[in-house]
Amino acid sequence: MGIQEQYISEAAGLLSSGAVKLVIGYSEGSTTDRRRPVFVRTPAEAERLMLDGACVANLSTYLLSEGLLSDGKSVAVFLKPDGIRSINILAAEAQLNPEQLVIFGFDIQNGQARPLQGRKISDFTPIVEAARAAGLSPELQGEAERLEHISAAERFEYWKEQFSKCIKCYACRQVCPMCYCRRCIVDVNQPQWVNTSSHTLGNFEWNIVRAFHLAGRCVACGGCDRSCPVNIPLRLINHRMAKEVLDAFDYYAGESTDQKPVLATFRPDDPETFIL
């Protein structure tokens, strides 16, 4: 039995026993290479579930849908290691109770979905440890370094061009499990810290602020980057932040359900070579 069949049958079982009220997974999309998120509530519907190498979206975002978990009932969700780290952060930031989750963990290797052992968040500690040990993506690092090797002025021009494309649709924010604020900073208008207009200045401010808010929280699931309808390489800026907190504070986002936020904690001997 392949992973898809195995997970479908298990999901159906959980639904029919009432162990979970909902399974959030993937189903067929509007084209052959697309998978779309699906909400399965009955055992019969479980047949719609799919799991293969095209299932890339981080579904943890949906767990924060208003009221979804407030009845205390359990929900099953399909998650890759990045999504599992998201759950750790969301639990650490008190946005959900991980005890309510049944996690169908999987990883994609060579284009194939492979099962991950365990169903509870605590079962995946070794997976997260392994992810940390494997380090940040060398691919992203390579791309980021290419940018870092050019002059600041050239880099500014690069981002100016990229951010000028932004239309402030906020797909990056909406798809991100970390962007759960009830009122985004950009919607604060007293005072209006971030210019809401999508001129390049406003776009610069928006993208910088979002990257800052994701520092130490982004798990590099790539959701924002994939969602961006105007193809801004958001992955790079988020990667740069992840690298900064790792290098400066030895901090890797989403390690556990009780990890403290990197920017709400400190060590007296934190590096400060840049401070005069």
């Binding site: 810290w193 602020v209 800026i237 400066a248 990197v262 904690t265 400190f266 934190d270 400060e272 401070i275």
Partner: protein, 149 residues
């Protein structure tokens, strides 16, 4: 000969150390460049990165953020939190091409009037050498311009 460029610099400082240090520079009648405008906050912990972006939007060619030395924070820990934020924010700005030389951070205690005066002079001179931050200010100018089509 054109006038030498006079940079606009905005400083965000805590009231207990750097602001007091600036006061000390004053009571000691030290002289320094007049390019800096100070915004007084209770603690560096109160200084949000947004302040820096707004100062740039308002035409600042440089920004100074300054507070108590580690261990000396009136609020015990505010500056440690600030330091982490600065580390991250500074890396972010640098990555987006906002030169590190324009956004400076320092610790200046209430007793360091001379350090304050020196820093303002050095900073002003450094920014003067860099020239106006046209690249960023251009973004604001574009906003104020009529549409081209």
């Amino acid at each position: 000969m054109s006038e030498p460029f006079e940079p606009k610099i905005v400083a965000f400082v805590c009231t207990y150390c750097t602001y007091a240090g600036a006061d000390l520079a004053g009571t000691s009648r030290m002289k320094y460049a007049s390019n800096v405008r100070m915004v007084r906050l209770p603690c560096t912990g109160r200084i949000s990165p947004m302040f820096i972006l707004k100062a740039l939007q308002k035409g600042a060619d440089g920004v100074l953020v300054s507070g108590c030395h580690p261990g000396d924070c009136h609020f015990a820990q505010g500056n440690y939190h600030a330091r982490r934020r600065w580390t991250v924010f500074r890396a972010l700005l640098a990555f987006t091409g906002i030169p590190e030389q324009r956004i400076r951070f320092s610790w200046i205690s209430a007793a360091e009037g001379a350090k304050f005066a020196d820093l303002i002079n050095t900073l002003t001179e450094d920014i003067r050498k860099l020239g106006p931050f046209d690249q960023y200010h251009e973004l604001q100018k574009v906003i104020e311009t009529q549409a081209t089509y």
